[in-house]
Symmetry: C2
Subunit: 270 residues, 2 copies
């Protein structure tokens, strides 16, 4: 086994840290300490990462050469400011937030950057990091290399991205992941209301995701909105208005958007 | 090889027929003829299914024991009426439309039903039918069995479903497949506008689909709308309003819906 050559403190014990810390540990990094506001989260992750924990930012270890901060975006400004006062002043500091600029560190600490793993993380599920793209940014080339090396321990897909590019990546990821998952949730709710098993949808969901490995999503589209099949759309809307009016609004708006893209596509491909 | 014991005419040569006809042929069914309004579609499918074609419904073959109708829902009423006049009056007739009732056949022909393969079909892509659930309905038990036998040739997942259940299945499938695919399209558009490759999203998209094999979609949800992270949501909306106002509306509506589901879930799980 490789000698541990990164000593890392994880600040935050949410979904990202809960997946990333054990993965880095398995690749020979030493997790020095974890911090979380709540004892329960801190303890759970500390157990996974086999390290001490704290719930007090002033008690953060000064023994690390890398501090990885994964907290709610709303808390990032405050946490980074307080962390900079208690952590090792010579170490490298990185946050993992898709839509927060690197400059959130500016003026607080000397060496800093971003390490954004573009994936959906849940504590209940281990993620295969070898398929997770990491987007890296740092305030020096040397530290960008260091962050690439750390991320490279768990994934072969390492890219550099500016704060602006990362912001668009994050918005796009919200559509591709969170909004997609919400479509699954709405599907689940509709089926459950009629005694139909969500399981029966999985082949369709899988094929929908597989298809776009081969076809651009605009070409892969099917269904009543693409065909502008107004009878079907009208019947679906009538049903939804009766039993779930909030779904009728979403159905209408997304169907119109599909149809608009289809029309624009036909016009430009003429 | 098994002796062909189903003689089938395909009426319509769209995405469903283009995938289903060759699959049934490979499992020993004989495709007697295909019909399409347009010569090009008819010819293409006839080549795939190694059979003659027609573009004239009055010239439909009387030699089949099963007629499978896959046409736009809007055209189904008219096509079934005209088909009933020229096809074999003793044969079984089935349509493949998710949201059309079985009764579209009533009064037109003696033996009829529905054979609904719940999948997204594109002509450009071969589908693995062994993972496609088929939902069957017929106006006699005997013919329901026959349709199950036909569908059973290509898939092990055969269910009976009433016209009402199928209607809900179809709405749910629109959310799980068409609307999901539209989220991919919007993601693609955002990335393309900023020189970022759609390919980099595929691991995230795949994991989002895989995750719900293990977790209910409501639990699998992540991201700013679930966390109700108003700073992120606000920044995303500001950016979208500037460069794609129609996406800002969708972003706002879907985010609100995610947050509502999250709140309801917290309340009920208290």
């Amino acid at each position: 086994m490789k000698r541990p050559d990164f000593n890392i403190v994880f600040v935050g014990a949410g979904n990202v840290a809960s997946c990333l810390a054990p993965a880095l540990m398995q690749k020979g990094c030493r997790i020095v300490q974890v911090y979380s506001r709540t004892q329960e989260s801190a303890q759970t992750l500390a157990r996974k990462a086999d390290c001490p924990y704290t719930t007090d930012l002033t008690q953060i270890s000064g023994e690390a050469d890398l501090y990885i901060v994964s907290v709610k975006d709303d808390a990032l400004d405050d946490v980074t400011a307080r962390l900079a006062c208690s952590g090792n002043p010579d170490a490298l500091y990185a946050h993992t937030a898709g839509s927060m600029p690197m400059d959130v560190w500016k003026g607080k600490i000397r060496r800093y950057g971003v390490l954004y793993p573009m994936q959906t993380f849940s504590k209940q599920r281990a993620v295969d990091f070898s398929a997770v793209p990491f987007f890296i940014e740092a305030n020096s080339e040397e530290d960008a290399c260091l962050l690439k090396e750390v991320a490279g321990r768990v994934s072969p897909k390492i890219y550099e991205a500016s704060s602006e590019q990362r912001r668009y990546l994050h918005i796009a990821a919200v559509f591709a992941c969170n909004f997609t998952n919400h479509m699954y949730t709405l599907c689940d709710r509709l089926l459950a209301a009629h005694g139909l098993p969500f399981e029966s949808m999985l082949p369709l969901i899988d094929e929908t995701a597989r298809k776009i490995h081969e076809l651009p999503p605009l070409e892969a589209q099917t269904g009543p909105a693409r065909r502008n099949d107004r009878n079907v759309i009208g019947r679906h809307l009538d049903i939804l208005k009766k039993e779930a009016p909030e779904l009728a609004d979403l159905y209408g708006m997304i169907s119109r958007s599909i149809h608009t893209y289809e029309l624009n596509n036909k016009m430009t491909s003429r």
